[in-house]
């Protein structure tokens, strides 16, 4: 295996380890909302600390790879995307802490919030699989589907005035936004196209 291939594989493995942690945290969040059982939420805070450490170590690895191996073309796009995805993953962890904090004090969980959490979980899971498989096509779908989550969140905030519920909905929606960012990074890695802030591209795609 080439030096660069070995380095990229290690980077992929560590990135995968991070997405696994985020997914576990999300499962806890969804479970807590579904069952109203907040006992396991403490684990979120521990997991988040772990995630912070993984973020630092992944950054260091990217830095060393850039300095020592000088990746080019698709390899360079990949490393560049990993640096950005790393931030999104860490933020997802932070948002889950916010959710955990809010739902500890919320007695009534509206069904819409449960639905939102399920959708956010599905989106994140799809984004992580696309990431592992460098799948630009499902990344596009994730970007286009984000509007549904935004609508759901908007409706919750309109319907339920309680602050805890609004903040939870907002945090969940932010998690999906980070998944969308990751999807954009994947498209950039695979296709070399920057689709951020490009409504024309989204419109063209949604018409297909």
């Amino acid at each position: 295996m080439l030096i660069i291939e070995r380095a990229i594989r290690q980077l992929r493995d560590n990135l995968h380890a991070m997405t696994e942690v985020v997914l576990e945290m999300l499962e806890l969040v969804v479970g807590a909302l579904e069952k109203g059982d907040t006992a396991e939420l403490e684990t979120i805070f521990k997991q988040d600390k772990h995630l912070d450490q993984l973020e630092k170590s992944l950054d260091r690895q990217c830095m060393e790879l850039l300095a020592l191996i000088n990746p080019h073309a698709s390899d360079l796009r990949f490393v560049f995307s990993v640096i950005k995805t790393n931030v999104d993953l860490e933020r997802m962890g932070d948002e889950m802490k916010n959710v955990a904090r809010e739902i500890k004090n919320t007695t009534e969980i509206p069904p819409e919030l449960k639905e939102l959490s399920r959708q956010v979980y599905a989106t994140a899971k799809k984004a992580f699989r696309a990431l592992a498989e460098s799948d630009a096509k499902s990344s596009m779908e994730i970007i286009l589907d984000d509007d549904k989550i935004d609508t759901l969140e908007y409706n919750i905030i309109q319907k339920y005035p309680q602050l805890g519920i609004s903040l939870t909905a907002k945090a969940l929606e932010r998690i999906a936004d980070h998944a969308t960012n990751i999807a954009e990074n994947i498209i950039y890695t695979v296709e070399g196209i920057d689709v951020r802030h490009e409504n024309t591209i989204r419109q063209r795609l949604s018409q297909k």
Partner: protein
């Protein structure tokens, strides 16, 4: 092996206050450094900084240069003083081999290029010789390419193949350390890549010290990097650190292309 052994093994080379003069001119100035076994150390620095000269100190290649005077000490394997004038230099060079910039196969068959050093080192049977030639050629990934033409001249190989033959020739005598003086600067990019991969594999069984003009090569393959400037060892640290946050301003300037 204890914890301490694995994290901090006994250095295979210990250089202490090494000075080297060509006539009046001092080329190496008070160099002290240690080389870790089973590591790849790259020596970098601008032309004329003394990096090849330093490398040649490790197996006494400077003996061949007139007016060359060496002071200081280089301890090999914890006990052998390389600068000891009574040392058996042939045996030293068997244990510390050298690969040069231009592939320099002997004008002999591919087989004899490898067999030569083994025969010099001691008497071996034909079957053992065959086995060791094959082993050496396999280690450099050349066996598949040349096994059906071992009697062809070593001079007929391509540049990259010839350089791998020279590495095989060095390996065949079972050295502890392999010194490489710009081993890829005469090769095309693909051959260079093959040699770099090979050097990484060599680390498992040998210690490698490589002089290179190519800073990216040092970055890609070495565990430690030594930066030499005007005969002084400016910095010697893990390559990861050297290329991300060097300690010395002069190192920073050199690796960012500000001078040299």
């Amino acid at each position: 092996m204890t914890m301490e052994d694995s994290t901090n093994p006994q250095p295979i080379l210990q250089v202490r206050d090494l000075n080297l003069f060509y006539g009046e001119k001092q080329v190496l100035k008070k160099i002290s450094m240690e080389i870790t076994p089973h590591s790849i150390t790259a020596i970098i620095g601008p032309s004329g900084c003394g990096k090849s000269t330093l490398l040649r100190c490790f197996n006494r290649m400077n003996d061949l240069i007139e007016n060359c005077r060496v002071e200081g000490s280089i301890i090999f394997g914890g006990k052998t003083e390389i600068n000891d004038r009574k040392l058996d230099v042939t045996e030293l060079r068997r244990r510390i081999g050298m690969v040069f910039q231009r592939p320099n196969p002997f004008p002999k068959s591919i087989y004899d290029n490898i067999a030569y050093g083994i025969r010099v080192a001691g008497k071996v049977s034909k079957s053992e010789l065959d086995a060791r030639v094959e082993e050496a050629l396999r280690k450099v990934g050349l066996w598949e390419e040349v096994s059906d033409r071992l009697e062809d001249s070593g001079m007929a190989l391509s540049g990259g193949q010839a350089q791998r033959l020279c590495i095989a020739r060095t390996i065949a005598t079972r050295p502890d350390i392999i010194l490489m003086d710009e081993p890829t600067s005469a090769l095309d990019p693909i051959s260079t890549q093959t040699i770099e991969e090979l050097i990484l594999e060599l680390r498992e069984n040998y210690t490698v010290v490589i002089v290179t003009h190519n800073m990216q090569q040092a970055a890609r393959i070495s565990d430690f990097t030594a930066f030499l400037y005007q005969g002084e060892l400016v910095e010697h640290s893990p390559t990861k650190i050297m290329f991300t946050r060097p300690a010395e301003k002069r190192t920073e300037d050199y690796i960012t292309g500000r001078f040299g």
